[in-house]
């Protein structure tokens, strides 16, 4: 579903954001992308959304080679990718229902389809009763659910979340990740970039760790910090070598 082949990205300022990064995320996978700030997580997200193009290497998303994708096709690529952010990015002047409906309106979906799909997805995220509320009347966790509903209402193939629990308390964070897991179970590929060790450790999903723009770990059923993971028995370096061998 998402494939990177020896991707390098250097910004004009000279900062090397990604160095020779390769990874392969299959359809229906749930992946945590971890690493310190500046490790390259956000650049990776931007590349997947084709907000940026790599300097070197190739990227396939939803079966399309992004280098060959003409600019006018980019919006159609993004219809296959739902996006969730730390700061929710809801429109404060619209109700919960309107916020979710907006995502369908602007890609030209007919009225009857909007009337049918929005209540369904609000039901899925557990906010059917708050459809008429304004975003500022909701808690942080509820606002993030609205954002997830908006990202998912078009049934995208991929859902990517950049620090989705960054502004939330631990128990709310757990709910949000469980919601993402439920969406994943419906067949959507989910990629979550996060700092939150707690959620990574409880979910035990595939973990890809970036450090200084390089993949230093790609581990199935992984945890946030490999140094405190006594079940692995392998150092981070070994794991990288292992994953390169497996995927390269």
């Amino acid at each position: 579903m998402i494939t990177l082949e020896s991707v390098t990205k250097t910004y004009k300022t000279g900062t090397v954001a990604l160095k020779d990064v390769s990874m392969d995320i299959s359809k229906g996978e749930f992946v945590f992308l971890v690493g310190a700030s500046g490790a390259g997580k956000s650049t990776l997200m931007a590349l997947i959304l084709r907000e940026e193009l790599p300097d070197d290497g190739r990227i396939w998303v939803a079966g399309r080679n992004l280098a060959n994708l003409p600019r006018w096709r980019v919006p159609y690529l993004r219809r296959n990718i739902g996006c969730v952010f730390q700061d929710f990015r809801l429109l404060p002047t619209k109700t919960v229902f309107e916020n979710v409906a907006f995502a369908l309106q602007v890609i030209g979906r007919p009225h009857h389809q909007i009337e049918k799909q929005v209540p369904q997805v609000l039901d899925l995220v557990g906010l059917a009763s708050k459809a008429k509320n304004m975003p500022d009347e909701l808690s942080g966790g509820e606002q993030q659910r609205v954002a997830i509903a908006r990202a998912f209402v078009n049934r995208p193939l991929i859902l990517i979340a950049d620090e989705p629990t960054g502004n939330l308390d631990p128990s709310t964070s757990k709910d949000i990740v469980q919601l993402l897991d439920r969406i994943n179970k419906s067949g959507t590929t989910v990629v979550v970039a996060t700092h939150d060790a707690n959620i990574v450790d409880t979910m035990r999903k595939r973990v890809i760790e970036l450090d200084n723009g390089e993949v230093v770990r790609d581990q199935n059923r992984g945890v946030y910090d490999v140094d405190i993971d006594d079940s692995s028995g392998m150092s981070a370096r070994d794991l990288v070598a292992h994953s390169r061998g497996r995927r390269g």
């Binding site: 907000e51 919006p75 993004r78 219809r79 996006c83 429109l91 907006f102 602007v106 890609i107 908006r150």
Partner: protein
Amino acid sequence: MSFATKEAGSNLWRNRLMTIAAILTVAISLSLVGAALFLRQGVSNATTEWRHGVNVIVWFHPSSSRTEQSAVGDELTQLTYVKSCTYRTQTYNYDQGKRFFQSLLGSASGAMTPADTPASDQCVLKDPNEAAAISARFTNMPGVLNVSYPSKAIHNMENVTHIAQLSFLIVALILLVSALALIINTIRLAIFSRRKEVSVMKLVGATNWFIRVPFMLEGLVQGLIGALVAIMVVLILNWQLDAASAGNTLSTLYKMRLAGGELAVILVAILLIGIVIGALGSAFAVRRFLDT
């Protein structure tokens, strides 16, 4: 499409002060453009009559003999650049003069009689610019009272209106540029105040055209309304001209009046310039601020 019109409408209302400023500037500049075009057409209409009509008139002294007059007439017709000449008797000219003063003053002057009125040769030239040469040649011939030709007056009138037109167009051009800047600014403002919506739209995969159209529509509406106001100004100008000349068929104002077709051409030109300004301004603003 209904999404686009709704968005454009609410944007216009939200930034109504800027919108009004942009529309007024478009209206004023296009009114000046319209007035300049109107003036040009009017002057051209007024002078055409003279240009294609009589170019030079040789007036005979009332006491001149018929022999003197025919000598002048013969010499005139022999000149290669004279197309034709018509002899007007004293009585004819007296009647014309009486009619002219009547229409001008409302009453006929009683001071003149046909016997005091000069007879004349009215000539049409192949080249109206030769009028001065005829004047120089015939003024001192026996029996000639005076040689008059309107080309000098036409020339003066054209000069004055040319300067007026040019200054109108220069001011209009400056105002059109500021109208363009104002339209770009209102749309920039609209995009800025909607940047959240725009970023969400991009994120969920709205096409670039879908995002752009409401803003482009906004600029177009501003140009269009400005043009409509300017059209009204030109129509009022035309109506005023009609009222001022009041059917006085000999006055210059009457001769300046525009035919329906000529007026329509000017109005269409104003409308097109308004639309172009609006589309250009919005396209520029949108290109710079929406394309990533």
